[in-house]
């Protein structure tokens, strides 16, 4: 479904991605793990067109996304819940969700999708008229994921969905991610919480300073000694 072929991304002179190749198949949950500054967020930003690759190819369903501007990538079927949530603080919860559906014009369908988001996150429903900035961190995370779902993505990119959440909420969020996947959405999730991520993912890639150093079945990587040492906090 999505392929990255030898992708190099720069921030000015900073070489953030140094030849990343990866693949995501329809229906999968794939996770990208790695330590701080490894380039996980940059990978997602590259896919979404916020920081386009300087060389290499990003292919979605066979078509290149390289020169497609960020705002046109959403309507191709890819949406992202970015790192740090990036909720529109002065827009209400409802308006935030409406912005998630910005590229769509089917009013009735949008309304039913919003209901679906409220089913996933009942907390949001109680707060529809509240400004996004006044939500708690966990609620903002739910809103960010819900907002990303509003474009009806076929591929959903999640950047650290569990960041800053209480353990109970982390479990809930991962459960919901699995739910979304069961309903047919392919997911690429970036996580600091590697243990949880490997628990729900089918496959995983390990990123280290802009290079993929390991790839494979999530279950296999979970047993991998290096991975356990570096990312699962096991000795």
């Amino acid at each position: 479904m999505l392929q990255l072929q030898n992708v190099h991304t720069y921030y000015g002179n900073i070489h953030a991605l140094k030849g990343i190749s990866l693949e995501i198949n329809q229906g999968e949950i794939v996770t990208l793990i790695g330590s701080n500054g490894a380039g996980k967020s940059t990978t997602l930003r590259t896919i979404s067109g916020i920081t386009p690759p300087r060389t290499g190819q990003v292919l979605f369903e066979g078509k290149t996304l390289n020169s497609v501007p960020a705002h046109k990538i959403v309507s191709q079927g890819i949406s992202q819940s970015p790192e740090g949530r990036r909720i529109f603080a002065n827009l209400t919860v409802r308006e935030n969700l409406e912005m998630g559906a910005f590229t769509r014009n089917d009013k009735a369908e949008i309304a039913s999708d919003m209901d679906r988001v409220f089913e996933l996150f009942p907390r949001l429903k109680e707060r529809v008229a509240q400004r996004g900035g006044t939500l708690s961190g966990g609620e903002q995370q739910m809103l960010a994921i819900g907002r990303a779902l509003m474009s009806r993505p076929r591929l959903l990119l999640l950047d650290e969905p569990s960041m800053g959440l209480a353990p109970v909420l982390v479990d809930l969020i991962f459960e919901i991610i699995q739910n979304i996947n069961n309903q047919g959405t392919t997911i690429l999730v970036v996580e600091q919480n590697a243990l949880m991520a490997l628990g729900i993912a089918h496959r995983a890639y390990v990123l280290q300073t802009g290079v993929i150093v390991k790839a494979g079945d999530a279950a296999t990587l979970r047993e991998d000694e290096d991975v356990q040492k570096a990312y699962l906090g096991m000795e």
């Binding site: 960020a70 529109f88 002065n90 308006e95 910005f102 960041m163 800053g164 959440l165 209480a166 919480n193």
Partner: protein, 388 residues
């Protein structure tokens, strides 16, 4: 590991607790203020208050006129606030765009041959409506063009660069104003084309390009019947207030309720997040400049007709006043800026009457400083930067 990071979303509520009301700095300012008021200002004050007390009619008159002027100051202020909200840029050229609006309306009025003595009321009404539309269209695209060619290339440059560019555009527009005000050039064009209409423009501009131009008094001067005789409030005043308030209400509903308006707010708050939603940030910024430009042009026409004059440097004064209004109310905040406009109009009228015209700018800035001292983000601006 894992969830140990604190969220660092820039939109989150301010992490710094509100400072207590009476900080050392404020205590000093307050004491200073009291000393100042006690020794110097109270005598002045007293006379002013007595004068107000003496003639409630005069006071009411000033308040009504001040609020009326405030409505168009608010319209100009919104141009600053919209652009600041989305780009954090002070668009210095906005005041001069307003001036271009006044010049364009004089040009169209002359082209159409409108004359308070010979044209019928209906003709004048519909022509002015049409001209308003034309002027708004021209200044909208002018403003969007300025953004496209003078600001957008500097989008990722250090903050100072677009600011300097804006100051530059302000001068460019003033020169355009001088050029448009040159009757001799219009004369040549009129001769070349043998056009009477353009000849009328040449006459309206006169031979001195930098001199003030007279705009025909096309607005109805009759007294509004439901305002008591003792107050002077003409249909002209009423019209200015109604049109300005209409523009304010229209803009507010647009930004508040339409999809595009919400996209403008989203882009103002977080441009990259907006792009992730599929919002074309560049296009949204263009739309913002289109709207700001239309408002500026409309205000230029309103003020031009109201005061009966256009001058190439009128944008500087009006711009300063309106920018102050935007800051006073909370720049980036639409309701705040509108409120700021009304307040500035009011202060201006009262100060003109009771303190003296030449002190008015000083009074306005003194009040601005005072308010910013207590609310650094303006009256309705929120800490952490409320936008749009």
């Amino acid at each position: 590991m894992a969830a140990s990071q604190t969220p660092s979303s820039p939109q989150a509520a301010p992490l710094v607790p509100r400072e207590p009301f009476l900080t050392k700095r404020r205590a000093f300012s307050i004491v200073g203020l009291i000393i100042f008021l006690g020794f110097f200002a109270i005598p002045i004050y007293q006379t002013i208050l007595l004068e107000m007390w003496d003639s409630p009619r005069q006071l009411t008159q000033q308040i009504v006129i001040g609020l009326t002027k405030g409505t168009y100051i608010a319209v100009i202020a919104l141009g600053y606030t919209l652009v600041y909200g989305i780009l954090e840029l002070i668009n210095f050229a906005h005041g001069d765009l307003f001036m271009i609006g006044a010049f364009l309306s004089l040009i169209f009025i002359s082209l159409f041959g409108l004359d308070p003595k010979t044209s019928s009321g209906i003709t004048i009404f519909f022509s002015l409506l049409g001209i308003l539309g034309l002027v708004m269209l021209c200044t909208a695209f002018l403003n969007a063009g300025i953004e496209r060619f003078a600001y957008r290339p500097l989008r990722n440059a250090p903050r100072l660069a677009p600011l300097i560019s804006a100051i530059g555009m302000s001068f460019v527009l003033q020169n355009v104003g001088i050029f448009l005000g040159d009757g001799l050039i219009w004369d040549k064009i009129a001769d070349g084309l043998g056009s009477d209409a353009i000849g009328r423009v040449a006459d309206a501009m006169g031979t001195q390009s930098v001199a003030p131009k007279n705009i025909p008094d096309l607005l109805p001067n009759g007294q509004v019947f439901f305002i008591p005789d003792s107050l002077k409030y003409t249909y002209k005043d009423l019209l200015v207030a109604v049109v300005s308030l209409g523009l304010l209400a229209g803009l507010y509903s647009f930004v508040r309720f339409t999809k595009l308006g919400k996209a403008i707010r989203a882009t103002a708050q977080d441009r990259d997040a907006a792009r992730l939603m599929g919002i074309n940030a560049d296009r949204t910024i263009s739309v913002t400049f289109l709207i700001g430009g239309a408002l500026g042009g409309a205000a230029g026409m309103i003020v031009g007709l109201y005061n009966g004059t256009a001058l190439f440097s009128m944008g500087f004064t009006a711009g300063l006043l309106s920018f102050t209004a935007a800051v006073l109310g909370g720049i980036g905040n639409i309701l705040g800026s509108a409120l700021g406009g009304l307040l500035i109009g009011l202060i201006l009228a009262l100060s003109d009457q009771y303190i003296g015209t030449r002190w008015s700018n000083a009074v306005i800035f003194a009040i601005l400083v005072l308010i910013l001292l207590f609310r650094p983000t303006g009256l309705l601006g929120q800490e952490g930067g409320q936008k749009a």
